[in-house]
């Protein structure tokens, strides 16, 4: 009874309003679905390429047609998947990149911890690292070639050399990321320096560290290929150099595309490991950054 009187409102009849359901306007460019957007952009690029090719403004020796390039991509793909000489070259470069990356991580983490955790590292080691980091590291390639010869090790060295610095810097920065409360808490718990480092500072710094690893993953590729350009060898870089010197432009393009697969896989491996380890980051309310 009371329910009814309440819900049916007072004696004054209530005016009926229209439902105020409305949608927010989204601009066209924000509305295109991902798949269509990506395919569209790709097709547009190919069409533009074809148009430039047809216009005759650029010599076909420098810029092949998309079709030629496509055919060459298939050719190189067949060689790779049938285990041809290109696959061997691909493995050589893969090896350089992976070994270089592992070495860069080993040195990068060690130096990063030295610099980020100890005053000695920060006072004495860091200035030298900064000095070297500001140099164009590719310029060291002739040195590595002279020291290590034209085999795989000089390529590994340059790849590792380039990739080490972002890891050092990000590790050192990551170790400074922990806030005063977290430090105080660990101190109050009677934690040793190692415990504080491994159970608080490093986990807190992981988002930084992974940023550095992603930059390193890109740098290690650049290092290996540059060293191959300059110092020959049996890798993919050498194939690219030879193809370019013979004005086989479609080949250069298709080799670059397969090479980028290697970089892509390396990069995404880092990203996947990051997602596993740093699952907690950006959970907006985390007491550690005090951002409650």
């Amino acid at each position: 009874m009371t329910d009814q009187t309440l819900s049916e409102a007072p004696s004054v009849a209530r005016k009926r309003y229209e439902d105020t359901v409305w949608t927010e306007e989204v601009a066209f460019i924000d509305r295109i679905p991902r798949g269509i957007a990506m395919v569209g952009l790709f097709v547009g690029f190919i069409v533009l390429w074809q148009l430039v090719y047809l216009s005759g403004l650029v010599s076909p020796l420098i810029l092949p047609s998309p079709l030629e390039t496509g055919a060459d991509i298939v050719f190189v793909g067949k060689n790779l998947f049938s285990g041809g000489y290109m696959l061997t070259a691909f493995f050589v470069t893969t090896q350089e990149v992976l070994v270089g990356f592992v070495i860069a991580m080993a040195i990068g983490f060690s130096l990063g911890i030295l610099v980020g955790e100890t005053s000695f590292g920060e006072r004495a080691v860091l200035p030298y690292l900064v000095a070297i980091d500001t140099m164009p590291k590719v310029a060291f390639a002739p040195l590595f070639l002279a020291w290590l010869g034209f085999g795989i090790s000089s390529k590994v060295a340059l790849a590792a050399f380039i990739a080490t610095f972002p890891i050092v810097v990000s590790t050192a920065a990551g170790l400074h990321a922990a806030d005063d409360n977290a430090r105080m808490l660990f101190k109050a718990m009677g934690a040793t320096r190692w415990q504080t480092l491994f159970r608080m500072k490093i986990p807190t710094g992981l988002p930084h560290i992974f940023t550095g690893l992603k930059i390193a993953a890109v740098g290690v590729m650049a290092g290996a290929i540059t060293a191959e350009f300059l110092g020959g060898g049996k890798g993919f870089g050498e194939l690219i150099r030879v193809a370019a010197s013979q004005l086989q432009t479609p080949r250069v393009f298709s080799l670059i595309i397969y090479l980028s697969l290697l970089g892509f896989v390396l990069f995404w491996t880092v990203v996947l490991v990051e997602r596993r380890l740093v699952f907690w980051h950006r959970s907006t309310i985390s007491g550690v950054d005090g951002g409650r």
Binding site: D179, N181, A182, M184, L185, F186, K187, A188, M189, G190, A191, Q195, R199, M200, P203, T204, V278, F279, W280, H281, S283, T284, I285, S286, G287, V288, G290, R292
Partner: protein, 270 residues
């Protein structure tokens, strides 16, 4: 300095039979040339609840860190259970304004962290049973597997209480533990804190900016001056225990609040 001593003595009835837990004698602190603390003298006896109130930057947190053995004093003596404090001690439990839970550990792992650090992971595993009981005590049952990112501010702060209690500390050092919480949550936490300290007969030292909170929880409220910090007066709160929320509207309660406010006003600190 002599007046200071006299005032502290005034706050404590002579011949108190309870064991002194904490003794601070002429503790000072300088950061370079900046004097953060002028000589502080405080004695806390077993089961005492003391609060410090004072303007921002007067050295309250500094005092607490010195008591906890996290920062050395520039001069003076800090004695806990008859032993000079020269570093972090097991008998001490601490809590800060931020919960500071580690987001890569579950709530349960966060709570047993102090055990894990001190006694290793095996001991931490054994302590999980106690941790679950503590979680239930603060109303967080069922959240042991949740990550801190899934807890609200008040829930995180309650988890931080559990982490403080897991080592069964005799002394609680609290630096504005609830000041990031809304007033309702804060009242609730204060009742909770009173229950916990009296059940364990724990000695507690609380820093706060809230006069009613200080009066509600404490046996003694130390009023500090602006920097350089100095204890201007120790106000004994002899309201009966357990304190209830209803008591906060009683005239006796209001009188204490006014007294402390006027002490702070007199210094022109607020």
């Amino acid at each position: 300095m002599t007046t200071n001593l006299a005032m502290v003595a005034e706050g404590e009835p002579a011949g108190d039979p309870r064991r002194p837990v904490y003794e601070l004698v002429d503790v000072t602190k300088k950061y370079g040339h900046v004097v953060a603390l002028e000589p502080v003298n405080v004695t806390l006896r077993e089961g005492d609840f003391a609060a410090v109130i004072g303007p921002s930057g007067c050295g309250k947190s500094t005092l607490l860190k010195i008591m906890a053995g996290l920062v050395p004093p520039s001069s003076g003596a800090v004695v806990l259970e008859g032993q000079p404090v020269k570093g972090p001690r097991r008998e001490i439990g601490m809590m800060f304004q931020q919960a500071t839970l580690f987001p890569w550990c579950t709530t349960l792992e966060n709570i047993v962290l102090p055990i894990s650090i001190r006694d290793g992971r095996a001991a931490a595993k054994k302590a999980e049973k106690d941790a679950l009981e503590l979680l239930e005590l603060v109303g967080l049952k069922g959240f042991e597997k949740a990550y801190p990112g899934q807890l609200s501010g008040g829930m995180a702060q309650r988890a931080a209480i559990c982490r403080m209690l897991i080592t069964e500390p005799d002394v609680l050092l609290l630096d504005e533990p609830f000041s990031a919480l809304d007033e309702l949550a804060r009242d609730f936490m204060n009742l909770e804190l009173q229950r916990i300290t009296s059940a364990r007969n724990a000695t507690a030292f609380l820093i706060t900016h809230s006069i009613p909170e200080a009066v509600f929880l404490s046996d003694t409220v130390y009023v500090m001056s602006a920097r350089p910090g100095r204890i201007v007066e120790a106000v004994t709160i002899d309201l009966p225990r357990p304190r209830t929320m209803e008591m906060m509207v009683e005239p006796a309660f209001g009188a204490f609040v006014n007294r402390i406010r006027s002490l702070l006003d007199k210094g022109g600190f607020l």
